[in-house]
Amino acid sequence: MQPFTTLTGIAAPLPQPNVDTDKIIPARFLKTILRTGLGKNLFDTLRYRPDGSENPDFILNREPYRKAEILIAGPNFGCGSSREHAPWALLDFGIRCVIAPDFADIFFNNCFKNGILPIKLPQEVCDALLADAELGANARLTVDLERQVVVRPNGEEIRFEVDPFRKHCLLNGLDDIGQTMAHAPKIDAFETRRRAEQPWL
């Protein structure tokens, strides 16, 4: 996993509420056996017309947002299916950070596993960042994970919270499995006790 330290990039506004993972990446694109290549179908039904041409009204089809690395989203972003294809599609497009008032639990988890930082900020703060994101070429934010701040184009710093363990993993690009393997003796002991006490499990 690519570490996440500091990111400075274009922020795209996508304020609609309840953007579900079917909208982020529709089910018909889940037939891949790879993690990569999903970026072209990110937000497919919003991004393309039925004939396959680009919808010029959709934010990610407009300059400079084609190069967006940050998404300012609405409440309950990522609700619905557990598909990790949703963060994979965001990552493949180039988005490394999503800021929203709140997120669905499974999507929120999945982001951290892929080097994407999801940041929860109150609606009024998101509204200010949405206004920043409307600034076109000047819609540049900096996200500093070490210091836990989002820096607005006007220089104002906004503090955000992040789980310390997840922060550590993101900063260092750590794979959880390797870390859990270090607890193998504890898992062995748990299983041994289980087999004696509750053998049907």
Partner: protein, 471 residues
């Protein structure tokens, strides 16, 4: 240290699965059963292979293909190349890693969340995960069951554990008796309508109360299944005699002395008197009426006897705009009577409502009636064994006689990864769980409802109050 604080069902299952508590409160949680399907597992197995890792407990892992499988005759295999590759990849992976698998032509094949309980794999007090958000279904047995992403699938395959923080406890109590014509589906739609699609975020929901106790296991599974539509990763119902009777004798259920020990433990699991919940919601079952959705979020519920709501009544400009967008997508106008809405397709099936009890309910409405000309109505059993059971009862004949298609088991039109998809603009009365834009096919329009209500829509050609047909 003795635990004296009254604990919830969730607390008890959680506490009994903690392998290690890390300093920041994150727990390494032991996972008892891992269900695997073809869509969210290929990258996880590939990860194991690249790291030279094994599946830690193949005996606690079960795989089945369900999302991509055709529901027409499949003796010739899967025609669609990408779907075929995904199923073949699963078959290759389960063979390489020694994971038990129910092949496509095995009667035990079906939707993973139908198969788990049906085989007795899912049991009270267990932790159960699957790379699928509707894993919450298994909570009906009193198991802590939740959906995970593919990275976590790989983590469980390799370590049989997950790193998790405890969820908050929410109690949803449904008091009183459910009126005639209403089902578990109406209860859960009523709950989601009340708490909203993010109402359960960060929580595990425990469903309790007289109306929940009165439900059979199929109804309980319908309720827990849609916990995720209310934002909760898991739903739970305390195990009781209904649960034990359901599990007893199933292929993977404990046998002999182990059964007695298991039941004794299961009886200790229900929440203690005085256990506290972070949030409590009370619903009065006698007030529930048959419900349908009108919009593109599962919280957009309305009585079938009601009308399409007016976005002008919304509290904020953002909400007005969102609701108007839904109306435009759904092709509806404010004030339009729900029962005047004509349907093109009826889909009865899915992990929400694909069990034998659901098919019986649909057949009871279909019996002696005909699907309206021009409506395509399909019934997709949740597993091969559900299909066999329905055929043994003659339900297939009733449904076919009425003009329904009787198909093979799979996820089918719930999410349209196989050829069963809506065409743009088509409107569907569906027993599935999500009415998201494009969920059942690009441009498709979904109204969620119970199996009896979906069958009623098939025989009238419009959304219909099933209580009218019963008169």
């Amino acid at each position: 240290m003795a635990e004296t604080r009254p604990r919830t069902l969730f607390d008890k299952i959680w506490d009994s699965h903690v392998v290690e508590r890390l300093p920041d409160g994150t727990c390494l949680l032991y996972i008892d059963r891992h269900l695997v399907h073809e869509v969210t597992s290929p990258q996880a197995f590939e990860g194991l292979r690249m790291a030279g890792r094994q599946v830690r407990r193949p005996d606690a892992t079960f795989a089945v293909a369900d999302h991509n499988v055709p529901t027409s005759d499949r003796s010739a295999g899967i025609a669609e190349p990408e779907s075929r590759i995904q199923v073949e990849t699963l078959e290759k992976n389960v063979a390489e890693f020694g994971v038990p698998y129910f092949p496509l032509l095995d009667a035990r094949q079906g939707i993973v969340h139908i198969v788990g309980p049906e085989q007795g794999i899912s049991q009270p007090g267990m932790t159960i995960v699957c790379g699928d958000s509707h894993t919450s279904t298994h909570g009906a047995l009193g198991a802590l069951a939740f959906g995970i992403g593919t990275s976590e699938v790989e983590h469980v395959l390799a370590t049989q554990t997950l790193l998790q923080k405890p969820a908050k406890n929410m109690l949803v109590r449904v008091d009183g008796a459910l009126p005639l014509g209403c089902t578990a589906k109406d209860i859960i739609l009523a709950i989601i309508g009340r708490i909203g699609t993010a109402g359960g975020t960060g929580h595990v929901i425990e469903y309790a109360g007289e109306a929940i106790r009165a439900l059979d296991m199929a109804g309980r599974m319908t309720i827990c299944n849609m916990s995720i539509e209310g934002g909760a990763r898991a739903g739970l119902i305390a195990p009781d005699e209904t649960t034990f009777a359901y599990i007893k004798g199933r292929p993977h259920a404990p046998k002999g002395e182990a059964w007695d020990r298991a039941v004794a433990w299961w009886k200790s699991l229900p929440s203690d008197e005085g256990a506290s919940y972070d949030t409590t919601i009370v619903i009065n079952a006698p007030d529930i009426v048959p419900l349908v959705t009108w919009g593109t979020s599962p919280e957009d519920v309305v009585p079938v006897t009601g009308a399409v709501p007016d976005p002008a009544n919304e509290s904020s400009e953002a909400r007005r705009a969102a609701k108007q967008r839904m109306l435009d997508y759904m092709g509806l106008t404010p004030g339009q009577r729900m029962q005047d809405i004509a349907v093109d397709v009826v889909f009865i099936g899915s992990c929400t409502n694909g069990r034998i009890e659901d098919i019986r309910a649909a057949a009871a409405v279909a019996k002696g009636r005909k699907v309206v000309s021009g409506v395509r109505a399909m019934v997709v059993p949740g597993s091969g064994l559900v299909k066999e059971a329905a055929e043994a009862e003659g339900l297939d004949k009733v449904l076919i006689e009425a003009g329904f298609e009787w198909r093979e088991a799979g996820c089918s039109m719930c999410l349209g990864m196989n050829p069963d998809q809506l065409k743009p603009g088509q409107r569907c009365a569906s027993t599935s769980n999500r009415n998201f834009e494009g969920r059942q096919g690009p441009g498709g329009r979904t109204h969620l409802m119970s199996p009896a209500m979906a069958a009623a829509a098939a025989v009238t050609g419009r959304l219909t109050d099933v209580r009218e047909l019963a008169r």
